[in-house]
């Protein structure tokens, strides 16, 4: 059986699955239940000066019968005294020495405040520290969370403060509410971070109630922007992980977070450069027991691929993730319909006719039955028909044998440049 343990920035974990800092890691009772169920690690609910929360706090985006396609919250950090959390961390670590406990921290951007809290959590035996520089609501209005995480200089400074006092690895958790997350990831590297984690939640308003006209969730009729997470944010998180992983200046491990619900999502994040993953919404939706499918699926996948160790796949797809301008303009893909599988619903025809390149023809065979055929010469290989087709296998996207050598936009522009230089 494949080895699914990881060594993340020097922190050894029996598997890559850590619960992200959030309600599932609020107390010792919960984290112990999670470890008992099989989770490899837990990033404790963010510690700092205990806060006050509002009710209600959560909202969800249900889409077409799919519950919790996205999840939204306006909850703040831990509302329990530090001492109580520290005692429970100490007890939990004693009971589960082989499982990982990371303390997530958030205090004001002052050197002595960071030194104080880092030393306190270190004294109870945490395996690492995560800096919550990403919470987008409430705390940011007080100059913490994403108010820090949106400024590279403050990210660097805060990371440095934590590092000055830390003897265990420091993971800087980044906010996605920024134009280019690489700027803050680089700042974390400059500040001496041992790793970065991404993403925290995305600024969001999940809905407005059509009867009351109240924002969702609402607090006595009023709402405030919250943080969005869950399956809907996965592509955003995956891109941010990939973009950081392929940047040579961001040469520290990345903990992947955001919409991870299955072992397949986990494999994708790790292929794209994550050294481990963190999960919140999927655990809140389905409970800690999902860890069984997560670990079993991952093990089976590696066994089927003949891979001995999970670490071997980390970053394996990163070099395939490049700039658009380096993609091959001469590569040609076309759609091909398998008429023996197609149920003639015409969805592909309508999609191509109305919103793509008008190249799926409805033809009639010798028995007078309609069938669909792609005019491959006109097909631009956009994938839309295969995306909307409700029947697996009815449309194949075929890579055509190249007739010309590869040519990217960059190749093209430098060839034109050479020509113009020679002409002038």
């Amino acid at each position: 059986m494949a080895d699914i343990s990881i060594n993340f920035a020097g922190i050894k974990s029996p598997n890559p699955y850590w619960l992200a800092s959030a309600p599932p890691t609020n107390t010792g009772y919960q984290v112990q239940r999670a470890f008992e169920a099989g989770w490899g690690g837990a990033v404790w609910k963010t510690l700092g000066e205990p806060i006050l929360n509002v009710t209600s706090r959560f909202g969800a985006h249900h889409f077409n019968g799919q519950r919790v396609a996205g999840f939204n919250n306006i909850e703040l950090i831990s509302d329990r005294p530090l001492e109580v959390n520290l005692k429970e961390i100490y007890e939990t670590k004693k009971m589960y020495p082989n499982h990982v406990i990371i303390a997530s921290l958030m205090v004001e951007p002052k050197r002595e405040k960071w030194h104080e809290i880092v030393k306190k959590v270190q004294d109870v035996g945490v395996d690492g520290i995560e800096l919550n520089l990403g919470c987008p609501h409430g705390m940011s209005e007080r100059g913490m969370g994403s108010a820090i995480g949106q400024h590279p200089d403050l990210v660097e400074m805060t990371t440095m403060y934590a590092k000055e006092a830390a003897e265990v690895p420091v993971i800087t958790k980044l906010t996605p509410n920024i134009t280019d997350i690489r700027a803050t990831a680089k700042a974390a590297v400059r500040g001496g971070a041992d790793a970065v984690s991404m993403i925290n939640t995305i600024n969001s308003l999940v809905g407005v109630d059509l009867d009351t006209w109240n924002p969702v969730p609402n607090v006595n009729g009023q709402g405030a922007h919250g943080g969005y997470c869950g399956p809907a944010v996965k592509p955003i998180a995956l891109n941010m992980v990939g973009d950081c992983a392929r940047n040579p200046e961001i040469n520290i491990p990345i903990s992947g977070i955001g919409g991870i619900s299955t072992w397949q999502d986990t494999v994708e994040f790790m292929l794209m450069g994550a050294g481990g993953v963190q999960i919140c919404t999927a655990a809140m939706h389905h409970g800690f027991r999902i860890i069984e499918d997560l670990t079993e699926g991952l093990s089976n996948y590696l066994d089927e691929k003949g891979i001995d160790s999970l670490s071997d796949i980390i970053g394996a797809s990163v070099e395939k993730y490049t700039d658009w301008s380096d993609l091959d303009l001469n590569h040609k893909v076309v759609a091909r319909i398998n008429n023996d599988i197609c149920i003639n619903c015409n969805k592909c025809h309508i999609a191509c006719e109305d919103t793509s390149h008008q190249c799926i023809d409805i033809l009639t065979d010798e028995n007078g039955n309609d069938y669909l055929k792609v005019r491959e010469d006109d097909c631009v290989g956009c994938n839309l028909c295969s995306i909307v087709c409700p029947v697996d296998g009815a449309i194949d996207m075929i890579d055509l044998t190249p007739t010309e050598p590869p040519m990217s936009w960059n190749n093209r522009q430098s060839a034109i440049q050479m020509l113009q230089n020679a002409d002038s």
Partner: protein, 70 residues
Amino acid sequence: MSNYEEFMEEKQVIDEMVKQNYVIKNINGTLEGDVVEFEKLGKTASRKSIRLTNPDSRKYVTTILIKGQS
């Protein structure tokens, strides 16, 4: 006219220029497509320019250019 037919028409023009020993001297991107200037050297030296509007022919012409440069 379909995209493919348009491409084939423009491709034919490009191929004809190449056949007549014209070489690409310049390519300028404009809002109306790529203006490609060809030049033929020798006794009957001359310059000709064509405008390519089809995306596939705009790829094709630079593919020819790169092949010629390598």
